[in-house]
Subunit: 126 residues, 2 copies
DNA sequence: TACATTTATAAGTGACTACTTATGGAAGGA
DNA sequence: TCCTTCCATAAGTAGTCACTTATAAATGTA
C-alpha cells in the first residue's frame, strides 16, 4: 500500500501530517500530539509513520536515539498534481469567456465572479 | 465512509473520476470504460459511484432510464483545500525571498526555479 | 557495565471494504 | 400489457487494514 492517496485515506495519518505541518517533530512528539486527540498506542503511530514514509509523504532523519519526521512536499505535490489534472477541461474556457463577455459589454471593469458551469447538474438528495 | 480522502483512497474510484473527467457519462458507460482496463462487475461500479456521490466527488442526474454522472468540483476543492493548508508555513516566505534576491541581484529577469527548502532532510533508504 | 529512553518490529485480532452473484425496480418501446 | 434496458440494492465472502500487547534494537547516561 504505497500509494499517496491510499496513505491519505486514513484520518489518523492525515492528522499526523497536520501535526507535522507545524514543524518537524520526533516520533515521540507525534505520539504525544496524537494521544491528546484520542487514544492510540506508540506502535500504532509508528506504523502510520511508516506508511506515510513509504508513500513519500514524510521524511525521517535520525538524531541520536530519536527520529525526526517532517512533511515531504514531494508526496503532497503528487496528490496536488493528480487533483489538478482532474480539472474539468471545459472549466479552462469558462472563465476566459466570461471575462471576455464582461469586457465587451461593460468595458475594462475587472469584476471577479465565481459562477460555475451553467448547465451543471446538482448533487442528488437521494 | 463519507470522507473525500477515504473515497479517493481507492484506485478504482480514482479511475472512475479520471473517466468522468473527460465528460459526464452514464453509469453504464463508466462500467464499460472500467471493464476495458480490468474485470469489474456492474454492481461493483455502482457501489463505487455511490461512495463517490456521498463524498461529494460526483453528481448524478437522471435522464430517462439512465443516470448521468459527472465530476463534482466541490469535493475536489475540499481535497485541494486540505492539501493547500498543509503547505509548509516557511514555504510561503521562500519563494518571495528568492524572487526578491533575484530582483535585487540581476534586475527584472523573472526566472522560475524549483529549489526546495535548503536544509531539508532527504528520504531515508531504510 | 548496567540501565533508561526512544523507536521499530512481531504476532494476533476484530472490523471494515471491495468484490461477487442474485434480485428488484423504474423507465421506454413493442 | 409484456418485454427489454439500465441501474441500484441485498447478501455473502475473502482479503486487507488499523489496532493492540509484547519484544527487540539502538543510542545515551550513570
Amino acid at each position: 500500500m504505497t500509494g499517496v492517496f491510499e496513505a491519505l485515506g486514513d484520518a489518523t495519518r492525515r492528522r499526523v501530517l497536520e501535526v507535522l505541518s507545524a514543524g518537524q517533530q520526533s516520533a515521540g512528539d507525534v505520539v504525544t500530539a496524537l494521544q491528546a486527540h484520542g487514544a492510540i498506542s506508540q506502535p500504532g503511530v509508528s506504523q502510520h509513520l511508516r506508511v506515510l514514509r513509504e508513500a513519500g509523504l514524510v521524511t525521517v532523519r535520525a538524531e541520536g536515539t530519536r527520529r525526526v519526521y517532517a512533511v515531504d512536499e514531494a508526496g503532497l505535490d503528487a496528490a496536488r498534481a493528480w487533483l489538478a489534472l482532474l480539472a474539468d477541461p471545459l472549466a479552462a474556457f469558462e472563465q476566459p469567456l466570461d471575462a471576455l463577455a464582461t469586457e465587451v459589454a461593460r468595458g475594462k471593469r475587472a469584476g471577479r465572479h465565481t459562477n460555475r458551469s451553467p448547465g451543471r447538474p446538482e448533487r442528488m438528495t437521494s
